[in-house]
Subunit: 245 residues, 4 copies
């Protein structure tokens, strides 16, 4: 197979506004996410893009050369230009994979692909999360034990307002009593979409080897599967002529 | 059960621009659709609303009092105010049923609920359509034979760019050689969505007893199933205190 | 709507072999399940049947007069006659609803409908279970708060080897660190199937008002939706004659 | 990726009982299916097995060394030993891909994986079939035009009694007026299952380059995605100790 071209997109705002976040991710969360992917997928071409770049770093050309896009955003969802969201959306339908990370559940791109609010319950106290594998045979779960622990994470709880996942890969248990569908797969058009819950900006989640393994597996899983440039053609000439029986 | 409150929404533009369409539907397509529903669901409260009314006839209050909304649109999709689309979308997630008719596959409301383009192939020659039942036990297919014919209809052909239907009720055969997934069910949030293909403005499709039966069945099927006012709450107090094993 | 005819099927073995179980369910688990349904669905006709009766109480006639069947079994799965399983299976495809309770995940009827093993992890220590609602608008979750607690239950943990649920209604959190997809919906043929996890024989789970509410809601949800007597007909006469374009 | 190990299973009965079938497939249908796969997947290891071999050629060892199994059967479904069916079923859940061909819709293995009858309507007159692509981006549709024609085939018509396909790849149009969901994907356990309609024994369907392309694509798509040896473990030691909040 061809080597995978992955673009890691980062909102890159918390890291500059909060000293605590900067202490955890001095060069931005996106650089840590990218480093993990590079480590586990040495043949992939992994680059980054951020909100602050022109067109958020997501020009038409850049997207055309992206096989899989990862998306982390939170406080600046509304600063993402609608035009860029439409462009990403179209590219997903065309075949680009999309990994939606943590608070990006409320991003414009995820909500527009799901057609729902993607709302959930939450508590930001830093509590233990156990991430359980629902389908050990799923490609995204390969190399992961039956469960793994993140010692401190933000809690997300059900109900999670999304369409029924086409495959459920992970469900999380939280110390405080909640559960959450943490790893969910959908296909839209020709694109593969994976939502993965962990990744609060205050915690070193993206340094965790299990988290990195899941993201690398998911990038491979989301690899474009074929080509389809959509249209709505008027096919004027019938293929058949029928005479009633 | 309570009596069903159905609002039949009509774009109501072709009927005023085309003498041919006016000849078929002199009082608008929406009045014929509404009449069919009234005939088959005598206990339902069926009203109509059109694009031309203030807020397209779909105020917040009106939507709150609507259990099931039917939507026919075509040439004026872009004249529907985004604010109204958002309001309808939110109400579907809250529980209102939505019947999406024919060319409304490209309506803003359907595309935003599906997260896809809902594109398809088409040919406007007036050809025979056979509508086959895929699941004779489905509530929307009750009272329908194993198939029925519309003698002259616009053709819609695959590929139909929608998420995998959660239930496939009908598939159409066309004289000219095409096929189409004509009756598809999805749930989004708490709302039930049914797409039904036939209904070109040039043909008397909505007078057909089988078509009317399907719409009446679908309205009953799309009845709100429960209540859920969505939010994204911060649940500050944990339910449990855990000490590591 | 017509009044619902519910048959509560009980394996009825533990109750006679274990003094502990008999202490909790002196007249059998099925009588308590039936009593809860009668209380909440006063218009339903609720009867019971057990393994020990001729044909396990599930004659063709009895099934024909059953709209919804509930199934609890555990240690005697293999004593259920294959012929009866086939009969129940056929009746589900025809339209009868089926509520699969707790250890019946490994019953012949559930496995044959799912096409998978329905295996899971488990621990029988009596621990706290929190049952979370994933879709508060779902009919089976009506009248249930965002979550409820069973103080002592057997633990079931992921992975749960079933096809992707068509709707996810509940997910459980367990004191010992596990999670489980506790309330799952599928349609097979014309029948509606709901799996509901709680209900270990050593605990008074079926006396719990929330549990009883879920079962009553599920029985209403699983009501037959239409009729379809399946066959595989040779349709000798073509409907159309086609001459190539 | 590793080279794919494909076992082509043939019932191999019609070919010996009918001169007409023998004329089309002198060395059996399985040899032609295998030849097509070898041509298009030169790195794959393609072998055949038939009903008449000991254990139908499907010993535990043979299955362990099979990545994807194709299954054609018709008049001898009931001669397939239940024990072999169970073995194949378990191997699919473990991860082996399964391509179910034409009349194998009624095979024991397909019915037991689906949990439904897989019944359909049919007519054996040799009529034109147009196979439409529903999702041009799907890996199984790569290299296929928007539709292709088989000039003479048996007709299969809806309703097709299967669970909702997780992905719909093809739908067929028939000269005589019927439609059918001809290419359907499901996952069960860790195994990928593809049903593909064409392939009546009286017609040279398996020599057709489009048919061969679909089968080769499907074999690649059905490649095992991961490993999971299922069990139902008693996990005695809790991971957590909880003290109520």
């Amino acid at each position: 197979m061809n080597s995978l071209r992955i673009t890691v997109w980062g909102e890159n705002v918390h890291e500059h506004k909060s000293a605590k976040v900067k202490a955890v991710y001095p060069d931005g969360m996106h650089t840590v996410i990218a480093a993990g992917l590079r480590r586990l997928l040495p043949e992939a071409a992994v680059t980054t893009a951020t909100l602050q770049e022109p067109e958020h770093g997501l020009t038409a050309e850049r997207l055309r050369e992206t096989d899989v896009l990862t998306w982390w955003g939170h406080m600046a969802h509304h600063d993402v230009a609608d035009e860029v969201v439409k462009r990403v959306h179209a590219r997903v339908l065309e075949g680009m994979g999309l990994l939606v990370l943590h608070s990006a559940h409320h991003s414009k791109i995820f909500r527009s692909l799901m057609g729902t609010t993607a709302s959930l319950s939450w508590r930001d106290e830093g509590e233990r999360e156990r991430i359980w594998v629902c389908n050990p045979g799923h490609p995204i779960a390969q190399g992961i034990d039956r469960q793994f622990v993140i010692e401190k994470e933000e809690m997300y709880g059900e109900p999670f307002a999304v369409p029924p996942p086409e495959e459920q890969v992970f469900i999380s248990w939280f110390e405080g009593g909640e559960v959450f569908r943490s790893g969910c797969c959908w296909r839209r058009g020709n694109g593969s979409i994976f939502y993965f819950r962990p990744g609060h900006e205050l915690f070193p989640t993206y340094y965790d080897p299990n988290i990195q393994r899941v993201l690398a597996n998911a990038a491979e899983w989301a690899r474009p599967r074929g080509t389809w440039v959509e249209s709505c053609p008027n096919v004027k000439v019938p293929l058949e002529r029928v005479a009633s029986a």
